[in-house]
Structure formats: structure tokens, C-alpha cells
Amino acid sequence: MSKIAVAGNAVVVTSKMSLEDIKTLEKYRPSALKLMGGENGKEELFRVMSTKGMGEIDSCGAAFGQCTHDEAKNACITLVFDKVEGDLKEVIADKLGAAKTKLDQIEETVPAVLAEVKAERAAIMDGIEFVGSVTAAEEPNAAE
């Protein structure tokens, strides 16, 4: 489940996914980062993606541009909430609540998809064979 932390006016949304995982899925399984719904499930309700910079998040999607500085390297978005009137927690819940719920839904399905992608990639790499290498004894000029 994603987390929202507040330090002063800075609000950091940290995902359970790493930025690397998001980039991997963008490349091999972009549909895993989308939440579909609406009529016949064809309307894109929410989307997770990677970007550059501090990132953005709202009810349409979340774009992660940074990661945490610990070993987990979880993807994170840093927002600044200044000129806030009223309780900051309530303002954050209003602005980010729906986005966080949808982000959590996507995060639940990601581990299985990632495992599948990694297994496929490992199988592909196992099938790659290096041929044509010549040992020193086999070099044409070795005996001369």
C-alpha cells in the first residue's frame, strides 16, 4: 500500500513499487499500470507511469520521477502544499484520497505481473547463445 507523509509543506507519496519496476512494466506490460473501468471496462480510469522531475499525482494518474534514498528505492512523488486553508490532512485527503485508492489497487496486481515479466525475460536470456568465439589454441596464426 502506498504511503503519504508530510514534512512542513512538503507532501511525499511513496509507492510500494520501485521506480525500476514501473519502468520495466512500462516497457513490457503497460496495461498492468492502468486501471480500466466504465462501460465494458474500456475507459482508462487511472494510470501509473514514470517521468522526470518531482512527479505528479491526481485523480487521473500518478507519474513517479524520483525514488527513496533507502535500499528499497521505492518510487515517490514530492508535492508542495502551500497556501492551504484549513486542516492540511483534510485537504490532502480531498486532493489525493481517490488517487491513493486507485494507486493501491494497481499495486496489488503488480507483483504477479512483475514475476511473470522477469520469468519471461530470464527464459529469453537463457535462450541466447554465444557462438563463434575462438580460443587461443584455435587461432589461425597460433601455430605459426
Binding site: E44, F46, M49, T51, K52, E56, I57, C60, G61
Partner: protein
């Protein structure tokens, strides 16, 4: 995040969600919209040379939905 509807005057693509720091050109390229032989309009306003390399945030669009359409220039029949 910005929800962008690309297309032409005759056909609209499904909306795509992008960060507001995305350039207009990259959205057109991803949507395979030909911007070389037509005038591109952003929310009804025609764009000038060099505008395609600007981001949605540069145009003040940081959230909500916007239209990025390819409008073919054609002379009226005499």
C-alpha cells in the same frame, strides 16, 4: 496530470493521461498524429512554430482535459 484527447476534426482518439511536463510533440508522436502538414490546435487555439516543443504546463494546463487536434488547412472552394 492532464488528460489529452488527440485526433483530427473527423476522428478523436481515446484520451491519454500524461504528466503536465510532457511536450505537445511527444503526445502527438505517441498518438501517431501527423503534425507536419496541418495546423495543430490546443483547446481550439492554433499553435505557432516552436509551440509543439513546449509542455502542457507552459500553456497553463496542469490538470483536467484538453484537446490537441490536427486541423488540415484547406482553401475554400471558389
Amino acid at each position: 496530470m492532464v488528460r489529452v484527447i488527440t485526433g483530427t476534426t473527423l476522428k478523436r482518439n481515446d484520451p491519454v493521461t500524461v504528466p503536465s511536463t510532457t511536450t505537445l510533440k511527444s503526445v502527438l508522436e505517441d498518438g501517431r498524429i501527423d503534425y507536419a502538414n496541418a495546423r495543430i490546435h490546443l483547446d481550439g487555439s492554433p499553435l505557432s512554430a516552436g509551440d509543439l516543443n513546449k509542455t502542457f504546463a507552459d500553456f497553463g494546463i496542469t490538470e483536467g482535459t484538453c484537446f490537441l487536434l490536427n486541423v488540415v488547412k484547406a482553401d475554400n472552394a471558389a
